[in-house]
Amino acid sequence: MTLFNEEQLNQIRNQLEHWETTTLKKTLDRRSERRPQFITTSSVPVRRLYTPLDIADFDYQRDLGMPGEYPFTRGVHSTMYRGRLWTMRMFAGFGTAEETNQRYQYLLSQGNMGLSVAFDMPTLYGYDTDAPEALGEFGKCGVAVSSLADMEVLFDGIPMGEVSTSMTINSPAAILWAMYIVAAEKQGYHRSQLRGTIQNDILKEYIAQKEFLFPPAPSMRLVTDTIEFGTREMPLWNTVSISGYHIREAGATAVQELAFTLADGFAYVEAALERGLDIDEFAPRLSFFFNAHNDLFEEIAKFRAARRIWARAMREKYGAQNPRSWLLRTHAQTAGVSLTSRQPENNIVRVAIQALAAILGGTQSLHTNSMDEALALPSEKAVTIALRTQQILAHESGVANTIDPLAGSYYVEQLTNQMEDAANDYFHRIESQGGVIPAIESGFFQREIADAAYQYQMEIDTRQRIVVGVNDYVADEPIEIPLLQMDPAGYDRQIARLQRVRAERDNSAVQKALAELADCARGDENLMPPIIAAVEHYATLGEITDVFRRVFGEYHEPVHF
């Protein structure tokens, strides 16, 4: 059922034309608008005014439906935030497991509702802290976890069967997940009780964040092994967090973020179907992770379009029967790339607007960035303000009181439709190249993103785009916010623990476990059981990853700029 009939639309069209030639014209004759063209954060032109004419064939039941019902444009739950607020999940990790454990305890005491682990660069690349490749990187962008011993310290005093934990880890995701499982079992929980997420989205690593290790085929096998293992043994765990966040941070537009992320999602679905898994068994455990950037309405439209596209594809293209398979559940994080190092307090305001977009977009969980993150890892004070921002939005702004309040806005509905159409165009372009992996290998995504990033920078350099404190309203004032200082003894403590682990464990058992893992890697059985066995014997992250590096080889990307 369309909202407007032909007669109404004609009347509106006449009224619009009349307005344009009279009232509007008079104003424009006196004074032109501020800019010849207005654009979104993604450089999409924005019209002066949106009316029913922009959504003339809008069909409420087809395009929106009811909350918690297909196609979920209005949200994945029937009560949304009236029933339960989004999970306030602050991403944190730095230095040693001890320091990060303290930060987690602090965050939980301040109303943070779920944990989210940031690992340091060596961990993300499957290196132990003392590997030569790890030079200078220990604890800088997250916490170092080189073995089960570090994971045990990281969650010391935190009931792993009761919290939900998200781990931002990709190439070595299966290994860190195994460490989490074993640490929780040592706390006395059963693995089937554990709730959380591993990011485990290797495709966006090739596309954007570049933390890949192995070639695409064995990487996809590892992801599919984790999906299969989770389906069998960890019913509450999200096995992949299909991530647009990093694609956006690398410079993509909102449409590219949406399209490339969902294309990656379809690729994981297809890989799991090829493995012979039943779609309705694994699809409910796929989750998503989107960016929340500056342009309020564009971001809201992106979240709404994402849910609708995913639901339609899962039901109509892949034939999923279980409504939970149709749901796009998502985490959101405010846009790190939007933070400025100049006048950093202004970032508090940016983050609040971005968080508002994610909430109006219907996110299930949210991380808000800290004002100091263009300078360093966040201080405790900066993190607290970021968390308080979510609490103010939740309890004071009123936006959590009703469901999808921007539905029916001519602008937001038009943007939502436009995003869906533009994403469909990208799906066809990707398909015509043979799918996501061939498009990665040819550098298609990388070029699209680099072009958009360059255009964005040029818009700033030429002041078509104003960034407050950067290219306008500039003030040369000293930065007065205190930055996080890490414990200088942390590195030595981490190295000492690693050496103790290697000295005290049963090294023949480790060698045997690693040999069995290598055999399994050369075959096609699921890799999770032998990884867990190696982790139980305190094989280190570097040792396990080295097995894969030897068997699978390493990937090198085509270099474009």
């Binding site: 660069m121 030079l135 200078g136 990187e137 690398a250 360093a376 920078q457 290219n471």
Partner: protein, 134 residues
């Protein structure tokens, strides 16, 4: 005709955040420089080797991860070991103010944080290499 100024843009260390490096590489190329981009995960030795092979005038290093105080001195040492003492070394990325004096002391001439206009880098290179700005 004068030879074009040759710039190597490199990403040392593990961090794969290459947005800034690519934008800078492209804008330097558009400004008329000859730009060689190494890609990610370069060791100091690889960077110095590329700088020598390509006979560059400028080496621009991009680091987001915070490892700059370990990596940049190693790159500088490797350049010196190749006899490239006089190459102009620039650093971009997340560099806290307190690290700037130490980087200047080992010979890093320019440090460009987030929010830098690309023209600022172009102008800086022209000034340092004493070429008239285009």
């Amino acid at each position: 005709m004068k030879r074009k100024i040759r710039v190597l843009v490199a990403k040392p260390g593990l961090d794969g955040h290459d947005r800034g490096a690519k934008v800078v590489a492209r804008s330097l190329r558009d400004a008329g420089f000859e730009v060689i981009y190494t890609g990610i995960r370069q060791t100091p030795a690889m960077i110095a080797e590329a700088a020598l092979q390509e006979d560059v005038d400028v080496v621009g290093l991009s680091v987001l991860s915070g490892a700059h105080m370990a990596l940049v001195p190693k790159v500088k040492e490797a350049l010196v070991a190749q006899g490239m003492d006089d190459v102009l070394v620039l650093v971009g990325g997340i560099i806290p103010n307190e690290d700037v004096p130490a980087l200047n002391a080992i010979g890093v001439k320019g440090i460009f944080g987030p929010g830098t206009a690309t023209q600022e880098i172009v102008d800086f290179i022209h000034k340092e290499l004493a070429e008239p700005a285009a």
